[in-house]
């Protein structure tokens, strides 16, 4: 499968794994209808089961602490405590955390997309000796677990005096091999004849990248940008290892530390969780298509 893999579309007569469901055929109408209903019921039950943690998170965030763990569970709060959502801003410096998370996510995403898509052109569209060996080096590091070299990374950052700065995280995450890999895979699907024609017309390599290849790779750029943004926003280990001052913390670290200190304030913890997930939900719903494309591109090649 190539980078053109798109959102899986439904197809009629698709493979059935669930034995009790038969595809609709004229002769077996009643069973087909029954099967469809059974499938719907099954899917609804499974879907709800998967969603339960989110439902619980949202309802708990609107309760009093004492109402979170009740027997039996109250799925709909007796009264809605919307004030949790105003009080939390006074309890933890959430504005600072959100600002830090946003700053890191935007800067890292911008750098990753820019340098990644630029380098990918060198790997996909320019031929020179040593190129493929260099690419193998990139790929090989993707296979090495990050945990295996986080200590040397930390030593470098410590010697450079960058521990406990945002810069350390930016440097560590903005130049990853993943972006180069994803963009290269996509560039390979752009016909070389296009670049060749542009060369004949006298466009420089940089011109070809900027005016031909880049505009054609908008879907891949969007995928990379969204995946990087979400990964950075959600990252726990990076900030956990490198950031010690409270005023540099991201939402994830802030939330975790709040849980550690006020572990009995269940409702407030859930309120914070909801607020930390909300930006990602928004980004995800807007760019859903590109997430799926990005996964298919980097995954099946």
């Amino acid at each position: 499968m190539t980078a053109t893999a798109t959102t899986p579309e439904h197809r009629d007569g698709s493979p059935t794994g669930a034995a009790h469901v038969r595809p609709r055929t004229p002769r077996r109408r009643p069973t087909a209808v029954a099967g469809r209903i059974a499938l719907h019921v099954l899917l609804t039950v499974l879907g709800l089961a998967v969603m339960v943690p989110f439902l619980w998170m949202v309802t708990s965030s609107l309760k009093l602490d004492s109402q979170v763990f009740t027997i039996p569970i109250q799925w709909i709060p007796e009264e809605f405590h919307w004030d949790n959502y105003t009080r939390i801003w006074e309890r933890i410096p959430l504005v600072t955390y959100l600002k830090n998370s946003l700053f890191l996510s935007v800067v890292i995403t911008a750098l990753q997309v820019l340098t990644g898509s630029f380098a990918a052109y060198g790997f996909a569209k320019v031929r020179f000796p040593g190129r493929d060996a260099l690419f193998v080096a990139y790929i090989a590091t993707i296979a090495v677990p990050w945990q295996a070299y986080m200590v040397p990374q930390y030593i470098i950052m410590e010697r450079a005096g960058l521990v406990n700065t945002h810069l350390s995280l930016i440097l560590l995450q903005a130049f990853g091999a993943f972006g180069v890999f994803l963009m290269r895979q996509y560039y390979l699907t752009i016909p070389d004849e296009l670049c060749e024609a542009a060369r004949v017309d006298g466009l420089s390599e940089y011109g070809i990248w900027a005016r031909i290849v880049l505009p054609l790779s908008k879907p891949a750029l969007a995928s990379l940008a969204l995946l990087t943004f979400v990964n950075t926003w959600n990252d726990y280990m990076g900030p956990f290892i490198y950031l010690t001052s409270n005023d540099l913390w991201t939402v994830q670290i802030g939330l975790r530390s709040f849980v550690g200190v006020y572990d009995a304030e269940y409702a407030m913890i859930m309120t914070g969780s909801v607020l930390s997930v909300l930006p990602i939900l928004t980004v995800f719903l807007i760019g859903q298509r590109y997430f799926v494309q990005g996964i298919a591109t980097s995954g099946l090649k």
Binding site: R22, H40, K125, R127, F128, P145, V151, F175, G179, S273
Partner: protein, 304 residues
């Protein structure tokens, strides 16, 4: 791939073109490469060397050969972490794979609401780990948590203590991670299912194959490349597991969920034992590498 030098005629212009291409190529790669080399490539190579050195944050590095590994073999923490990491992988890999495949097959059809289900299933994967861990910790709460309330309702008299119990903390982690990851692998499987030609199913139906037979003899074999990829990704990510454990149980209770990555972090960054922690890292890397190679071999043999 079409060579950009295809039009070059004489050797002189060809070598000039080559030089120009090399220059152009490197100029594209360089901005990324500087950062990549300094902060990924160098650390990767350094961690290989460090594994054979004795080096603490206050001493100078000193070559000690296999000393770190000898210490490792005698360390109880190491064997516990290795056992726990393997336990996690053995639970996480098959369960996630089956769940992802099941949902993909179920959702690969024309049905009202199918889009919503796919979205709902995928969303846990991009939800922050901290939120996931915090919510599941509460769901698993032994006395009044929803999970145990449900278990009691279906007749389990003394449901497990989950994250408060040394026996059940790891299963709790596995359940949480399966829930979180299955949507991602489902997307991979859905993409794989799209590549199976519909005619195969039509032909099988004509021959009177039951849905189960069609799944077993068409869907599964056709999905082998996807399954191969999913298996490798899942195994690697299981052995790397870190942040979920760190946020949800911090390795506890006791050492019951201490995993290799955590041990590297504790020894290397918290304690400053750079050499010793790199030896653990080396073990982790070799395990991941071995599993990848073995799976690759198996896959190749099947294809032949």
């Amino acid at each position: 791939m079409v060579s950009t030098t295809a039009s070059a005629s004489t050797p002189r212009t060809r070598s000039r073109l080559r030089r120009r291409n090399t220059l152009a190529g490197w100029s594209f790669i360089l901005p990324n490469f500087i950062g990549f080399a300094a902060l990924t490539l160098v650390p990767v190579v350094a961690s290989l060397a460090l594994a054979f050195m004795k080096w603490n944050s206050y001493s100078t590095p000193e070559w000690v050969g296999l000393d770190n590994f000898r210490r490792l073999v005698d360390s109880e923490n190491f064997w516990t972490a290795l056992y726990n990491t393997t336990y996690y992988a053995v639970g996480h890999v098959p369960l996630t794979l089956v769940a992802a495949l099941g949902f993909a097959v179920l959702l690969n059809r024309k049905l009202r609401g199918v889009r919503f289900f796919r979205t709902a299933l995928f969303f846990p994967y991009i939800t922050s780990l901290v939120a996931v861990a915090v919510v599941w910790n509460m769901l698993f709460s032994p006395d009044a948590g929803p999970v145990n309330q449900f278990l009691r309702a279906v007749g389990v008299d003394s449901p497990p203590g989950w994250t408060t119990s040394t026996t059940w903390a790891m299963p709790a982690l596995i359940i949480t991670s399966v829930w979180r990851d299955m949507g991602y692998y489902m997307v991979l499987y859905l993409a794989g299912l799209q590549t199976i030609p519909g005619e195969l199913y039509e032909a099988a139906k004509m021959d009177g194959a039951s849905p189960w037979q069609r799944f077993w003899h068409i869907t599964l074999p056709s999905l082998r490349p996807t399954t191969f990829f999913v298996l490798i990704m899942l195994t690697i990510s299981s052995f790397k597991v870190f942040d979920l454990v760190q946020v949800m149980t911090e390795g506890g209770p006791g050492r019951s969920t201490l995993v290799l990555s955590q041990l590297i972090f504790r020894e290397g960054i918290e304690q400053g034992r750079f050499g010793y922690s790199s030896a653990i890292a080396m073990v982790l890397f070799v395990i991941v590498l071995l599993i990848t190679v073995v799976q690759f071999r198996l896959q190749q043999r099947k294809e032949r």
